[in-house]
């Protein structure tokens, strides 16, 4: 049987894994890339004119919450991945804090079955490190790995004790899985709702010091030293955390980290009593935010991850203290990164693409490149397209974003997963 062919032509390929940046066409046959090169000729192929667009390897989001099973009013695998596709993501890693928690192979298989039936993009589940993420016994990590998880975490909180973390990391190392840490010292967190600083003092909101994060990162790096397992620090928000990760990397430890778009664009000064500004970790002060931007530009940070955390309107429309932590993030991630890194002149376009592609891929020991034989996952975007994000028009079921109404320069334009155009911007 003749395989379906798709020719992406006239685009600018930016492929950091091959340090390639220039005009080239991509021919897809079936779900794989067949050929890459200038002015490809492919009679009979469907053609996609990528004039004026960047053709990048498919974006990977290392950190999101799809809420299924258990909180389908906030999001489902279907709606969440539709939003991910609109954000240019071709694969998303969903956190295990569902109901029930993804701490066994049955839940992992449920997620993957639902994804096969309803998802727009690839879904790579992350398993719980401990049973129920309760911080006591280990979860069934090997069984989950066979079912398809790509990492373990107790996200929402850190792995409870240094001893448990040690066991998880030793075990994860033997299974060649990274351990993702939500690094946070519970006693310093102490019921806080935003970053401690002048704004928290003025608003009378309980503050969380930046040290609540970095203290735990220090612990996590020490256990990494002890075990040699791969450690990935999630949604990093503090300068000192980044310093610890940089130092660990210098010492050759397998430590990586991610930063979210809201943490590298907003600061604690943006916080009002509007719960759309409530997330954990909280928005950092300006100097910490600037340190994160530096890390994104210079390689200290490995990946941009959204921490897409949908919540229903009813659960967020409450007093700031009572609102759950979290903001949605798929559809605005690339545009925010273009604004903060590329248009600002902080980093070249290839670095931005790396943060969405080969950077997160390395964390998972995967490859992400545009070459013959590779899976045909591609993200096509414009660095110039002007648009306004409207939360009401989001593909997500939830609306809890601080970026509603924001005008952007640069946008995802089409998302290709396994050779299929799963979303294309209407212009």
């Amino acid at each position: 049987m003749e395989e379906r062919m798709l020719l992406i032509h006239n685009g600018r390929i930016v492929d950091p894994a091959r340090t390639f940046d220039g005009p080239a066409d991509v021919l897809i046959e079936g779900d794989r890339i067949a050929r890459v090169g200038p002015k490809l000729d492919a009679p009979g192929a469907q053609r996609f004119d990528a004039s004026g667009l960047v053709v990048a390897p498919g974006f990977i989001d290392l950190h999101c919450h799809l809420r299924e099973p258990g909180n389908e009013p906030a999001e489902t695998i279907e709606t969440g991945t539709r939003a991910a596709a609109r954000g240019g993501f071709t694969a998303v890693c969903c956190m295990p804090n569902t109901q029930p928690v993804n701490d066994n192979a049955a839940v992992t298989r449920f997620i993957l079955d639902r994804a096969a039936a309803s998802a727009s993009v690839r879904v790579w589940p992350i398993g719980a490190a401990s049973h129920g993420s309760m911080g006591e016994g280990l979860a069934e990590i090997a069984a989950m790995k066979d079912a398809g998880i790509v990492a373990v975490t107790d996200d929402g909180k850190p792995i409870a004790t240094a001893k448990l973390l040690r066991h998880v990391m030793e075990y994860a190392r033997s299974l060649d899985l990274p351990v993702i840490e939500h690094s946070e010292d519970a006693s310093l967190f102490a019921g806080g709702v935003m970053r401690e600083g002048p704004t928290s003092v003025r608003l009378g909101l309980r503050g969380i010091p930046a040290a609540a994060e970095s203290i735990c990162v220090a612990r996590d790096v020490q256990i990494c030293t002890l075990t040699g397992a791969r450690l990935h620090v999630a949604h990093m928000s503090a300068k000192e955390s980044l310093d610890l990760v940089r130092d660990a990397k210098r010492r050759g430890l397998p430590v990586t980290c991610e930063v979210t778009p809201h943490h590298f664009t907003l600061t604690d000064e943006d916080v009002t009593y509007d719960s759309r500004y409530k997330m954990n970790p909280p928005l950092a002060s300006r100097d910490h935010r600037d340190a994160l931007l530096t890390g994104l530009a210079d390689g200290g940070v490995d990946a941009i991850a959204t921490d897409h955390a949908p919540h229903t309107q009813a659960s967020k429309d409450v007093e700031f203290d009572r609102a759950p932590f979290g903001v949605t993030g798929f559809e605005t991630a690339l545009s925010l990164a273009l604004e903060a890194l590329v248009h600002s002149g902080r980093a070249p376009l290839s670095r931005l693409v790396e943060l969405f592609t080969s950077g997160p891929a390395r964390v998972l020991r995967k490859t992400r490149t545009i070459a013959a034989g590779e899976p045909a996952d591609l993200t096509l975007f414009s660095t110039e397209h002007r648009w306004t994000f409207r939360a009401a028009d989001s593909a997500s079921k939830s609306r809890n974003t601080p970026f509603d109404g924001r005008e952007f320069r640069g946008a995802p334009m089409a998302t290709i997963v396994a050779g299929r155009v799963v979303w294309q911007r209407e212009t």
Binding site: V201, L205, E319
Partner: protein, 316 residues
Amino acid sequence: MSFTFRHLLGTEALSRDEITFLLDQSRAFQGIQKQPLKKLATLRGKSAVLAFFETSTRTRISFATAAARLGADTMNLQAESSSTQKGESLVDTVRTLEAMKPDVIVIRHAASGAPHFVAERLGIPVINAGDGLHEHPSQGLLDALTISDRLGRLDDLNVTIVGDIRHSRVARSNIHVLSKFGGRITLCGPAMWLPAEMPGMAPNMRIEPCITQALPGANVVMVLRVQTERLREPSLPPDEYIRLYQMTPARLALARPDAVLMHPGPMIRGLEIDPAVADSPQSTVLEQVTNGVAVRMALLYLLTGGAPSAATPQAG
């Protein structure tokens, strides 16, 4: 000038002129407190909801008295009896109250920003009667009125605030008011209750953990309640607090001889304040309570649409 605010959510957003205006309006109601018949018909037919989601006796009774003296009806909601215990959201609760068509809602809530949240969602004026650790604007105004009565001015005062500043909404509202009149504010208390960022809130503020250094030259000494019920961090042993920060006659003597000694109440004699200080001629504790009613009458009056001029004839 006229009062153009729809709500009173805090003193931070008020200008010096607006505060002066509010105090002038409050003075018009002070005289009524001294008359044998204290009730006016000014707000007859109007009603106020007193929505107290956090336990309060003094402030709730003060607002209720203020409303009664203006002839307004009050509807009370208290946390103990409220539907919030049944899981109803704040927005649904206050929309239900609004549907009973009150003219103003007075809200106290343990969550900072709750009055702002309510004000954005209702069509009626909202008065903040204390929100979390944020503000207690009517307290800030009544303290200013009391200072002005005693010292004859509000301008250029040395103000020392002693106690648990971190958790004090009274301190925040007072800082915003007094700094707008050129006040030099010294914050004094145990280090863990004195956020280093606090002096950034207003000009001319400083932190002085040593009470003997904090009091000399003070025109106003404000002693805060030790709000043990609000503390989540390990609290200071009371004896340590008494040793370092209790307002004693000897410490008060470090301030200017004509300094006023204020306390927002309720006070715990023997903890943050020596009984001899609480009962001294310098103490304004009871005047603060009396002025509270006048200030709250002015707020209810202005926010329910009373014209400023109509209040003036009541002055006496």
